[in-house]
């Protein structure tokens, strides 16, 4: 297995009486890792340590195998960062902001590259407008654009979807997916559970400075809620059909809802093919079969309420 791109090893940060950590997790190449947790839980502090902006009080942080404090230039080469609050110089234009970022990174042919990323995030038509005149969503896109500049190997994104309209969110979601498909690694913090569930291959949940969970979304749902959920949308559902679904191995509960069923499933089972077979053979009209809605959000709320009882 290749060495991780991002690695926290017993990392601790003391802020007066507050302590973040010890934090232990790693992110491999090509992964999109979602960093979850409520405000003030320590996500941004971890990101700041990863970027060499804050010095760990204990343990270590490695970015591409390098110490971001003592070997900052080496660690940050090929790394893009979009901060939680897009504090971008308001007196500059998007093109100026990217030109400065390109100069900092020593990018050649910066003009073509700035145009490419502005196009990619969908604000090329505002490239010469002062940042102070851009909407919050556009500034957020610009923040992501400067992180994408130069096709970095790693992107660290602190709340990248914040302030975006649905079109902007969808646009960036696709951009991140294709970036990861090409081998890029993303660590993104977010409060938008649906986004995280949708695009992240791994997640970490941090609360009160402690890492409560590290794994996949499915694992977290299963571990925290004890079961996953399958949402069935179908017509002509008779009592017999519902009973047949209930008897499928791995199903732990079935609730009839308006237009379908919510099926609770033991975490280790994949029951959707069986459900489809039962419905089709019994003459019910299957309209949609997918994972339960907002499961990660439910697991997140339960995990935080537990305050770390299920820490791994």
């Amino acid at each position: 297995m290749s060495s991780p791109v991002i690695e926290f090893s017993g990392t601790v940060k003391h802020y007066g009486e507050k302590t973040i950590g010890p934090i232990q997790f790693s992110v491999g190449k090509g992964e999109i890792f979602g960093f979850l947790g409520p405000n003030g839980s320590g996500k941004t502090t971890c990101i700041r340590m990863l970027l060499g902006l804050a010095r760990p009080s204990g343990g270590s942080v490695r970015l591409k195998g390098e110490d971001p404090i003592s070997r900052h230039v080496q660690a940050l080469t090929g790394v893009g960062y979009s901060p939680e609050l897009p504090n971008i110089q308001t007196f500059l234009t998007p093109r100026d902001v990217l030109a400065l970022a390109a100069a900092e990174s020593g990018l050649k042919e910066a003009r073509d590259e700035t145009d490419r990323v502005l196009e990619e995030v969908g604000i090329i038509e505002y490239c010469d407008t002062k940042v102070s005149k851009l909407s919050k969503g556009m500034v957020q896109r610009l923040s992501v654009a400067q992180a994408m500049l130069g096709r970095p190997e790693v992107m660290i994104l602190d709340e990248p979807m914040i302030g975006l309209d649905p079109a902007g969110t969808a646009h960036l979601r696709e951009a991140f997916r294709s970036y990861a498909k090409e081998g890029g690694t993303i660590l993104m913090s977010s409060h938008m559970m649906s986004e995280v569930e949708d695009i992240c291959s791994g997640i970490g949940l941090i609360h009160n400075g402690r890492l409560l969970f590290n794994g996949t979304a499915k694992e977290m749902i299963s571990q925290v809620l004890g079961a996953t959920e399958v949402r069935v949308e179908a017509e002509n559902l008779s009592a017999e059909v519902i009973e047949s679904v209930r008897r499928i191995e791995g199903v732990v509960g079935v609730t009839q809802t308006l237009g379908g069923l919510d099926v609770k499933v033991d975490g280790g089972y994949e029951v959707r093919p069986d459900i489809a077979r039962v419905l089709v053979s019994s003459g019910a009209e299957l309209l949609k079969l997918g994972e339960g809605e907002r499961m990660l959000e439910k697991a997140y709320v339960v995990a935080l309420r537990g305050g770390g009882d299920k820490a791994d």
Binding site: L76, L92, L100, E104
Partner: protein, 285 residues
Amino acid sequence: MVAIRPTRVSAFAVYEVRRALAKKKVLAVVAFTILIDTVPYYILSTSGASLIPAELYPYLWVAGVIAPFALFIQFIAILIAAGAMSEEYEAGTAEILLAKPVSRAEFMVGKFLGGYLLVALVIAMNAALSVIAADLVFGPQAGLWTFPGVVLLEVYSTALFFTVAFMVGELVRRSSLAYILSSALVVSSQIIGTYLSIAFELTGSRFYEMMHTYLPTTVASSLPAQYEQALLPSSSGRVFQLILGPMGGAPSEVSAAIIVAAYAVAAVAISLAYFSRADVSKRIS
């Protein structure tokens, strides 16, 4: 250890100039510099020209170059330097700039040089406007061959308060507080200097004179004035007496140059040492 790369330093220097110019307070200061270099000559020409001996007319440009330097130019230097680092923390822009493959030394040196370049431009503009205004109002000016020298010395001497304000800005990371503290240093040094001069006049004790000699304001303002005084004709001495008062209690040119350098090196070393170790502050305001 990463060497300081000139391309990164120059990128930050250019950025710093643009950033400072984008702030209205710096533009206001530049506008005020224009006023301070033109209005006094106009007032003198309309209401006080007859009071000035005609033989001093060719040297009146020196008054415009030297007089604002003691305080006004120092405050401009402080205004620019105090915010160079601290305003980046306050705006939260330091994070985005430093989360790049650049060393902290490159960032700091670039911003320092950008701010210092801006101060140098203000000094040059102040001096040039003085010459133009004096020439227009009082006729052709003499001794202009000393112009480059006095401008360079003013730029050099400004390093004292510029670096101190830069250091205070980095240490406190609040632009207003840094400006107030640095300005307080100038004002208190000036006031203490006045008391020491009075004490020296009353007692004749060399101790007071020596104390006055090494005050930051004495050191910072003495070098350009001494340079001009030594080079210009003796008849122009009254101009300096009117502007600066007697030159007693000032260090020699060499001593002043060394003291300025000592203050500047110490302040830069402290700034760099602190900046290299401390966390990058999150957005403050």
